[in-house]
Each structure stands twice: as C-alpha cells, then as structure tokens.
C-alpha cells in the first residue's frame, strides 16, 4: 500500500498517508514528556510489585518486601483503638457499677461498648433487642427479674451464669420434677390455683385443693403469695410475665417436669471491663432497677 505522506500546509505536520473519502489525518508527534511519564509509571509499577503485595497465589499473595497487608492495618487499627480506650476502661473498672450512671461520658461509653458485646455474646439466646424468646429465654427489657435487676445483680449473673456446672460460683436453684411426687389431679389443682394468683381464667372448684398443696410444695421457693424470691431465682407467679408460658398446658408441663434453664458464665469469655459494660447496657434497656 503506497504511503502517500504529505506535509500539511497549515501545521507543517506530516499526514499519516491514508485517505478515507477525501479525509486525511495529521501524524502529530506525541510529546516526549508523555513518553517519559509512561516510563516513569513502568518503573513505579516494578517498584510497587517488589515492595507491596502483588501476585495472587493459591491461598495468599506475594507479600512484598515492605510486609504491608490490609489485615495488618486492621490489627493495628484495633490495637490503636484499644490503646485509645484504655484510660476510659481503667476508669470504668475503678468505678462502682451503680455510680457509673452519674458520669454521662462513662455511661455513654459503657452503653456503646456493652451493645457491641451484647450483640456478639448474648443475642443468640436473648435476641438482638434483648426481648428473649419462647422456651425459657428471658426478656431483659421488662421489670420482671429472676435473679435481680440492679446493675450489680446483672453483673453477677453475667459473670457466673445460672446453673453453669463449670462455674462453682454460678447461680443455682432447682425446680423439682413434681410429676413423680404428685398425682395428676393434684397437679391439675395446682395449675388452676397458680393461674388464679395472676387473675387468669381458672376453674375455682378444681383450684380449691391447690391452696394447701401450694403451701406444702411451692411456698418454700415461690413465697407465701407466690411473688417469687430473687435469692433463689424463683419466678413471681402473680404477675403477667411467664418464662415458660402461662397457658394451662405450659404450667402443667412446668410443674410435672420441673425447670432448670441454664445460662453460661462469661467471666472467662469476656474481659472484666466487657462484663461491666454489658451489665450497664442491659440495665439501660428499660427494665433496670
């Protein structure tokens, strides 16, 4: 193909030699600085590949001479975060739990930290919002507490759990399996009597022997009027909140088979400040006493 290069009169530049429908194209030289910038980027590229993570391998990448990694950056960020919070954490550990509410900054710090711990460690049973779940997972937002709702009570519960066999200091109590001790009619009477304590529908005739049975078998833990005992973790039977359900069948199942829900202890899983924070957080959800 003949190369009909011409010099364009206006610009004194060569044309490429091609012509399309009478249109010709100038072959203006590129600026030399552009070429050297390109070389500079190539040098930069080589340097970068040597110094930084670059080539993918099967399970990782070439590390680069500088040893930089984004994981390392995150670890450094977390460490810096911990260092930045160390004074506040120290202050929290030195303050009595009940007095934390008097210091707004410390309180805000604790609630925020406690929320993070709660979502990671507690939400699996108690729900992300602390509302509990049927089947014996307590609602932490209401004003009915099995083991006490002050910050110190909550702290103790989190630290050592409830009926955690691995922890000697765990809270402990037991509701016996009354199915082996009482007859079916006796249990039926008790069910109706217990429902009467919280003004739920019941059969007064069936419930009449229940009062004496209650005094013999239940008062020791649940109290004379059935209002419970927080030292023993015995629920209040006279209010509207039921851990295992308040229907006839639920109560019957509870009495017949007994109950002994378990909460793991967290003193080994969490640092002392984390336990303090989560206790303060739970206390701030609306039911704290």
């Amino acid at each position: 193909m003949a190369d009909k290069r011409e010099i364009d009169a206006d610009t004194q530049t060569e044309t490429t030699g091609h012509e399309w429908d009478g249109i010709k194209e100038l072959d203006t030289p590129m600026p030399r600085w552009w070429l050297w910038s390109l070389y500079a980027t190539i040098v930069w590229g080589i340097g970068y590949v040597l110094l930084m993570p670059a080539w993918p391998l099967v399970n990782s990448a070439t590390p680069g001479l500088l040893g930089w990694s984004s994981r390392g950056e995150v670890a450094a960020d977390i460490a810096a975060h911990h260092a930045r919070h160390a004074p506040m954490n120290e202050q929290l550990l030195q303050t009595e739990l009940a007095m934390v509410a008097d210091d707004p900054d410390l309180l805000r710090f604790s609630v925020a930290g406690g929320r993070a711990v709660f979502l990671a460690q507690c939400s699996q049973c108690h729900g992300a919002g602390g509302g509990g779940a049927p089947g014996g997972y307590p609602n932490l937002l209401d004003d009915d507490w099995l083991w006490g709702g002050t910050v110190d009570d909550i702290h103790q519960t989190v630290m050592h759990g409830v009926r955690d066999e691995a922890d000697f200091d765990s809270r402990y109590s037991m509701m016996s399996e009354y199915g082996s001790m009482l007859s079916s009619d006796e249990i039926e009477a008790l069910v109706h009597y217990v429902r009467s304590l919280s003004n739920l529908d019941h059969d007064a005739v069936v419930a009449s022997p229940g009062g004496e049975l209650f005094a013999d078998f239940c008062v020791a833990c649940h109290g004379d009027d059935g209002t419970g005992d927080q030292f023993q973790g015995a629920p209040n039977l006279a209010d509207g909140i039921w851990l295992y359900g308040g229907s006839h069948d639920d109560i019957r199942r509870t009495i017949t088979g007994g109950r002994g829900g378990m909460m793991p202890s967290f003193h080994a899983r969490l640092t002392p400040e984390e336990v303090a924070k989560v206790a303060i957080y739970v206390h701030s959800l609306g039911g704290g006493q």
């Binding site: 992300a128 209401d142 209040n236 039911g287």
Partner: protein, 476 residues
C-alpha cells in the same frame, strides 16, 4: 517516492515558548483578575468568623474530622451535602453560560493553570529579562550568570509553590494553629504530604509544563469548543482585513494591494501558548486576548484602526466579509441560549437559597425500636421504646423538654433521666432512648397500632416541633 523516507518522528520534545511582555486593556484586566483570584485563594483561610466558644472561628473551613463545612454564617452538616451538589451544578451551568456568551474566558483569565503560569512568567521576566534576553539565556552555555539567574528564578518559583500548597491545607484546619504546627514540625503527616504534592505540581505545571497542560492534559479545551457557536465572542484575526499580509513601508498616499497585517509577529511573540492566531480558531488558543493588545499597539503606531485581532464572533466574520457591520456585543451575550443557561443557573441558585433559609437549627428524628416491637410489663401495661436523635446545629447548648400528644393515655419516660428535660450539647447529634407506656387494658395497649406524636419544646424560646410516631399494642 524518490527520496528514502526517514521514519516519522513518534515523539517530539516540547518547543519552549518565550512570550514577550505586552501592555493594554486586556493585559490590565488579566492582572486585576489575577490579583483578585490569588488574593481570594491565599487570604480566605485567614478570615475569622465568631460562632461562639464551641465552634471554630474560621470563616471558610472544611472540617473533615468533625464532618462540617463552614462558610461564614452557613454551617453544612453531612446530611445536607446536597448544598455542595447544588453548588457544583451551578458551577457547571455557570461555565456553560460564560462559555456560550464570551468564549473561553475561563481558560484565558481565571483558570488556575493560566493564573499561576502567568505569575511564574512574571517572575521569569523579572529575573531573566524580556523575550529576547530569555531566548539568549536559553541557548547560552551554563556559566555563572545562567546559574545565578536560574537559581534565583527556581527559588522564587519554589516559594510561590510552597505558599500555594500551604494555602490549600489551611482550608481544612484552623489556619493559625496549623501554620504553627507546620513550622514546628508538629503537623499531621497528611499536611506535609499534601503540601509536598501541591508544591511539586505547582512548580512543574507553572514552571515547565505550561501550555502542555492545556493542549494534552486538560479536557476543558475540547468541551469548551463544543459549547461555543457562531454567535459566541472569541478572539479571532480579521483575515479579510489583514490579508494579504506583507512587510514594507506603507506611505499613506501609496495605494497598495496589501492588507493591514504587516507581519510584525507581535501577536505570535506575546502568545503564552506559542500559537499564531492568524492560522484561525485552534484548540491551543485560550483567548487570553494578549494578541489583541499587542496588535492594537502596533496598529496605533502605524496609524491604522485597532481591532485587526479582536473579540468577534464567527458569524461576524460572515457579516463583515459581506460588507455589513458586526453585531453589537450585547447580542452575543443576551440570546436565547445564554438566557436559558442563566435561568437554569438562577433556578438552582434560588432553590439552594430557599433550602438554606428554611432549615431549622434543631432537628430530631424518632426511630421506634423494632426488636422487640413492644414489651409487656409485669402489671400488664405495654411499653414501646424509641431512639431519639436530636441534632443541635447551633453553637450553643440547648435545653429541651419532651412531651407526648396522644388520644389514648400514655406515659412518657426517658432512659437514664429523671423527668422530661435534657440538655443537647452544641453542634452535636444527641441520642436519647425514650419509652411510651400504655396502662393495661387502655385503648393504646389493646390496639395493634396507634399514632401518638412526640413534641420537642425548646426551653426558653418555646418553639415546638412535633413528629408523628407509632405505638404497638398487644398483638391481637
């Protein structure tokens, strides 16, 4: 092809441009604009504006750390970023407006590349001399004089570049504080890094790259050319008057066939881009109008009328060639296209102003807690929880009182607070958990959903803001 063709050059070195100094009205205008724009750039961070003890006192400040933008009496929070978007749209439309009316005035008068290059050329002229002296020094061997002059020039350029980079960082932090930190080597690394990069780019672009930026790097020349039409004012050579050009004496009484252009090359020598405007409209012409001043000067000396190179429109060229007068300047500026741009630009501007003045400085949002939706208390009452976000967008603490407006009876309580009054700190978003409790068997407790309203009242001024929310009763 008889001669052995040598392979065409792929790359060519930059041919240096040595513009000659020029004086005239357009040069004056450019000095004025340079002075004003540079003054604005360097001095604005130092202007103070008192906003009270809680807020910074710098008039123009982009506070990245606290996520605020301050502009005199205006304070923009991140959720109001649409103001910045609006300003950017206005900047774009403004550019379309100016370009459609007056051609590449941005490029020739106000573009930072033009302004700083002009400044650097001024320094160059001051130290090395005018065009002829500069050309001589360029081709001169390196001796004491060349070393001295170049060192002096580069030093001053470096100082200007440093001040330019420095001024940039003062927009992002309190200027007096940052300056003190900077010189005592106490500033954050980002400050030094930024200044280093901007110093390098200012020095390189203004000192050496110059017209290469406009011709090869910048997208504006190519966009601006598309925004001009045959009625846009642009710098052009009146070829119909000047051609055929020729040197030589012109005695007044001698009738010659030559045009007014005496090929003195004044227009070429003063051009900072190194082009010849007589070649016609071209991408590299930034319409800085220095060639107009140069040619008018020469025309005046030889007794000819000014305007051989002038601000004309392409359509004027047709008119004048036909013997008619050019259209008046105002007709280029006020025509349907430019009026439309102006209306759009104003519309957005007015919209921004209205939005600005309709803002309240205490805003709040209620977020009902959805997990769980409600809590039944031991006495059978039903309680809903809400996360309140109170935005105090002023520089003073605000005391506010909360209350609830509802048909059904409901009690309002605050978490961690006795009573219903809280203090929202200045310039903060304050979170507060609140509860609404409906007594057992009350209408709110037994309906699936009711709609109370929460009322925020500023203690002292009595201004009240109300926001509707939802209350979930027992599931039926």
């Amino acid at each position: 092809m008889s001669e052995a063709a040598e392979p065409p050059r792929l790359y060519a070195a930059r041919e240096p441009v040595f513009p000659r100094s020029v004086s005239g009205p357009f040069r004056q205008l450019k000095w004025w604009i340079m002075g004003v724009t540079l003054m604005i750039y360097y001095l604005t961070p130092w202007i103070r504006w008192d906003r009270g003890p809680a807020l910074p006192d710098q008039a123009v400040l982009i506070d990245l750390a606290h996520r605020r933008f301050y502009f005199f009496f205006i304070e923009i929070w991140p959720h109001e970023f649409y103001f910045v978007a609006g300003l950017l749209i206005m900047a774009g439309l403004g550019l379309f407006l100016f370009t459609a009316a007056l051609g590449r005035v941005w490029c020739g008068y106000t573009c930072p590349q033009t302004v700083w290059t002009d400044l650097f050329m001024l320094v160059e002229r001051w130290i090395e001399g005018d065009r002829n002296a500069q050309v001589r020094l360029w081709s001169q061997r390196w001796n004491g004089e060349k070393l001295r002059k170049r060192a002096a020039k580069f030093s001053i350029w470096l100082l200007i570049a440093l001040a330019t980079g420095g001024a940039w960082i003062f927009y992002f932090a309190d200027a007096p504080t940052l300056l003190h930190q900077f010189v005592t080597f106490d500033a954050p690394p980002a400050a030094y890094f930024t200044v280093a990069i901007l110093t390098a780019t200012t020095f390189t672009f203004g000192g050496f790259m110059r017209e290469q930026v406009c011709i090869y790097m910048c997208p504006w020349p190519r966009i601006q050319a598309a925004m001009m039409d045959e009625e846009t004012m642009t710098v052009a050579y009146r070829g119909w008057r000047g051609e055929p050009r020729g040197r030589g004496r012109r005695a007044a009484e001698v009738e010659t066939s030559l045009g007014d252009c005496i090929d003195c090359m004044a227009c070429v020598n003063v051009c900072p881009m190194g082009i010849d405007i007589r070649d016609g409209q071209q991408l590299a012409c930034i319409t800085c109008a220095l060639c107009i001043d140069a040619c008018d000067d020469v025309m005046g000396r030889i007794g000819k009328p000014r305007g051989l190179i002038d601000y004309v429109t392409l359509a004027d060229g047709e008119r004048e060639r036909a013997g008619a007068a050019p259209s008046p300047v105002w007709k280029s500026i006020v025509r349907p296209r430019t009026v439309l741009y102006f209306l759009l630009w104003s519309l957005i501007g007015v919209g921004l102003l209205v939005a600005l003045f309709l803002r309240t400085d205490l805003a709040f949002s209620i977020e009902p807690v959805r997990n769980p939706v409600n809590v039944v208390l031991s006495d059978g009452s039903v309680r809903n929880a809400y996360e309140l976000r109170l935005r105090n967008m002023t520089g003073n603490d605000r005391e506010i009182r909360l209350s609830v407006a509802t048909d059904a009876p409901m009690a309002l309580t605050l978490e961690g607070v006795d009573g219903l009054e809280i203090t929202v700190p200045a310039d903060t978003t304050y979170r507060q958990r609140v509860y609404l409790t409906a007594p057992p068997d009350s209408p709110a407790a037994t309906t699936t959903r009711s709609e109370p309203a929460l009322i925020i009242e500023t203690v002292g001024t009595g201004t009240r803001v109300s926001e509707d929310t939802i209350f979930h009763g027992r599931m039926q």
